[in-house]
Subunit: 349 residues, 4 copies
């Protein structure tokens, strides 16, 4: 099949970056040629991540565009918000393809970005150039793109669970309420009281209610799909576990629809897309059933008493919600089979 | 103050029963004189619960009405659904006062009980006689009662979080959506695949969606408070932790109300009731903050964008959601200070 | 009984300090009159510890000796190592009684302290004055003392599990190996990668092997009991849980001894001391069985094949291993019943 | 490379069996052609294991030798103790190769098996025929074998951590003490009070002290390596986590040896065996660092004060301790590279 595509990972010492290393290690068409960290350049990555002992033995590189260009064809940006907006234009300029795992290129409106992220936005031209990489919905747009905005973890679970019903007009978008729950790895590796084991263990809490930066991302996509502005209520909670997101979503049904109807609609909508698994009647997915894998599993509970449907959608936040979907986007961008390097069976139990 | 009230606990080997033992051990006015278990009668309770070693050394009693009468003045029934409906009438007959921690006397309609519990209901006369012991709302009714139906764990967290706003007409009851989460102890001590550590740990799942037997209990009370029938969407999830319930509740606001308005309303409503703590602006409670205690903590997030309020209410399911509220009800029934024996500081961390 | 003893707590915002607040809240003879924190003085403690909402509403005090003297009779020092060595002499001088929960006054040798703690030691006079407050062994010495060095968490579990056998000569001290495990709260509330939820959850690790500062403390006491120098192998591990310590201890038996013999010996040794529970034949205690309580539970497994005994000893590290034993020492120091304010039933499950 | 080897898995609905399915799904030379369960034959495996939805869709087969023979070349036996002893001889007879993940063929002495397993042993001929598949030590013997006894989880971690030092005579075998800890998946999927989430979570306990059936297995191998009978003290503990084993091992050193010496010895001993990673000076491995992978990581702490070495060895009990080593043994048996299908990067965090 010829030589492999060379990939660099910026932000290799975050959880998203280190998950990219795990996934790409078994990708048949990709070789990771540079693992990059601004803070730890010059040290071996296994020093901070001993699970990589004898697996990745080279030293971490610093962020230097020309050096990246010399080593790589494609760059995964897994840095905190505010880094990619500055770095990506420079790397695009010198011919690199970019998959950005941060939120810097997801919102089309710089003003909205500034409001929710409280950072300086990327320029409009680059925001327009970026393709929103929700693979099962907009995957066609990723083919041949050079700047992909990888969707956020919550938006991925949420949007895959809502889009077919919104697109088909089966639910009233004005009634959508999203109650989302995430494992702690979503908060990143930074040490803080909020990630302290003794504060999280045997605890369940809500955070950033109505204030999460994923709200405008979700609304932007739902509005596009609905063909009119959609505003949603979106609540995030922290679960005492490491990986996994569940979005429990509520909406009023238009017309008479059964669980079976929803299942059939979603199976048609996602036909041929192996990473979405629409569950059978009466079955709701649990986060552990996708642990370590790129699956998004979806189930339904229609309630005739209230005329509402409850949609449950689960992903592994670090895989389908970050690194896995990024690899999937690379596959699409390169014109490969989207499954390449991603056919992990979930780790259970 | 004279001699202590003698209490018997039926169902002492369940988590609710054993929590009653813990709480009553430091109650100044109560002495537990009989711990009763149909399945383990004749053995020491510390055999199955070694944490009670040298604390309770007597043998478990069997269920025998006359023997209970000889030893006790009041009986806590902490048995599975279907036991109290048969046992309580017999015990009332011989002059015992009953606090039932199961669901057998909560619903006023036998038909509704039969539909949701799939068991034979208690007779209408006893259902009418039972007082629904949501202490901070209907506490006056408990005074002098002889049969108290202790509220369910989910209904306690949910109703305390909704009632002031519903009573005041600040939210539209038809729009209420309740997304509830519970620790695993709520499932009881019975061994099953669903409570297996390796299946629950690092997992988050929904269960009994639209089918939980606490739905009619919540709707019965909300309907009473609203003065008209209320139907709700109610979803339950299992959190990988032992204790704690959070109800995250959504409803459309009538008129313009701020977080501050809700806080003030609730503080007025619960004035003088020390076990409800209404949190300050921008603060939402976490389950660990009430762990091991009888508190119910409540917080608000009004969203002007959507015109909805998100109410977060947390309890320890085994204390305020079961044994603690049962003791509180005993205090009310006896005409004592409701705090007696319940002033535990939450165990943190 | 007259007026209550007034207590101040220095280091109130650490886990040990906040646990003292919990325990003393129900002590019949003590009133906490000052909660002190050098870092958060002037703010309400419930801001950082919302579980104390409406329970402790005053502002945190700073560390100022005269102000402490005005408010308190006794001071609990729950600050990091290196604070008490400087503060205690000053407070003793002005007539306060001190119970130090840190390691500053446990070792009688300043040189040893300096070697293991890498901090400046207290003066020899104060080290000599300090009573080592292992209540069940040296409790007599606490009566009337004015400076008590509260034992470390690991030493408490370990020493209570070894002392009767060493004192009686039943095991060879030279063969003692201690394999200890602790919940994460033992590391304190400081945020670090080592306490990050995602690094601890679903993980088990050893740390500070042969280097833990509790080694000289254990050896000092064992040497005193054995009447000759004892050197031990001591390993510490971090368990993915919040509270609890287990010491699993191994030693070669001198002569023929059965489980029964050990049980009888220990029950005689600890007769009348209600917080040590020696378990029956074939029963080994688990950490959860003492959760939230002041108990130390001990069990034995003699192996005739190897001639060794395995001793298992468990405590709640924040109670018997810190705040609870500190209260017990206050009780002894004041000449009260050692159980006062400590008769909590363990929280289970 | 020609056609793939066809594999059947008996006991597919246990945790060991389902892990074999996960690992073999990405093995380039093996196709799983029959997943077998005596209890669930005729149903789809994804019914009980929804994480396999759309991954394995066929129905579970029953145990029928001729049918197995028709479909498979090699059989993994992942059934409880007592099944393989009866089934394996029959399957060998008809030409199948067997890798037994249970304990039925590990002990060479039928009497010892009977004593520790309290079941009827396999015949001496088959016990003699079985190769003990500790891959990094006895791997040569697996080549071309037709009956492999896959080592137990605890013995794997323990023996890999002890053998080089025992073989070289660096430690005194008579002084070996093994303090082992395991996640709960090691107990299997059967529901019991002992695996109930609320009993395990926030708990740490010892079990089967001096009575675990892995004791004679460890002693048999150590005796073989030492060239004389070795008796050990072996304690097992349950950690509140799903996967992972740590063996912390203690022994007296013969002569003067540093950490560096042990590291060098072990690296020489395991040279070329990629699944054993001997850590550097001052570094001890944690269980999470091998999660989901086939690695066994080993570290050392020599203590000059006591003349003892502490060896820490970790594995994922379901991979290197069961399914992974079984695949490794298949690779060896077939004469393939032992890494085939096993080069998973550990899942972290």
């Amino acid at each position: 099949m010829g030589s492999k595509v060379r990939a660099a990972i910026v932000g290799s010492t975050g959880y998203g970056g280190v998950e990219l290393i795990r996934l790409l290690a078994s990708h048949p068409q990709v070789e990771v040629t540079s693992v990059i960290s601004s803070s730890s350049a010059g040290t071996p990555i296994a020093e901070g991540y001993p699970h990589l002992t004898e697996i990745r033995t080279e030293l971490l590189d610093g962020i230097e565009s020309a050096a990246i260009r010399a080593k790589a064809d494609v760059v995964f940006l897994a840095a905190p918000a505010g880094v990619a907006s500055k770095l990506a234009p420079e790397l695009l300029e010198i011919g690199l393809k970019i998959i950005d795992v941060s939120g810097d290129f997801r919102l089309k409106s710089p003003a909205l970005y500034e409001e929710w992220y409280q950072k300086e936005p990327a320029g409009q031209a680059h925001l327009d150039r970026a393709v929103y990489g929700l693979a099962e919905v907009f995957g066609e747009e990723s083919k041949g793109a050079d700047l992909i905005a990888n969707p956020g973890c919550y938006p991925t679970a949420t949007l895959l669970g809502l889009i077919p019903a919104v697109a088909e007009g089966w639910i009233d978008p004005a009634t959508i309420i999203i109650d989302a729950k995430s494992g702690v790895s979503g908060a990143g590796r930074g040490a803080s009281l909020g990630t302290h084991y003794a504060e999280i263990n045997e605890n369940f809490k809500a955070y950033k209610v109505n204030k999460h930066q994923h709200i405008p991302e979700i609304e932007q996509v739902l509005s596009r799909v609905a063909g009119k502005p959609v505003t949603t209520t979106f609540t995030t909670h922290l679960v005492p576990m490491t990986r996994g997101i569940m979005s429990t979503m509520y909406a009023s049904i238009r017309g008479e629809r059964s669980d079976r109807d929803f299942i059939d609609l979603y199976r048609r909508y996602y036909e041929g897309r192996c990473f979405v698994r629409v569950r059978g009647e009466g079955v709701l997915p649990a986060t552990k059933e996708v642990f370590g894998s790129n699956y998004c599993d979806i189930g339904f509970a229609v309630d005739r008493r209230t005329g509402r449907v409850t949609v449950v959608s689960v992903i592994d936040n670090l895989v389908k919600g970050a690194a896995g979907q990024a690899v999937q986007n690379l596959n699409l961008l390169m014109g490969w089979d989207e499954k390449l390097g991603l056919e992990f069976v979930p780790v259970y139990p």
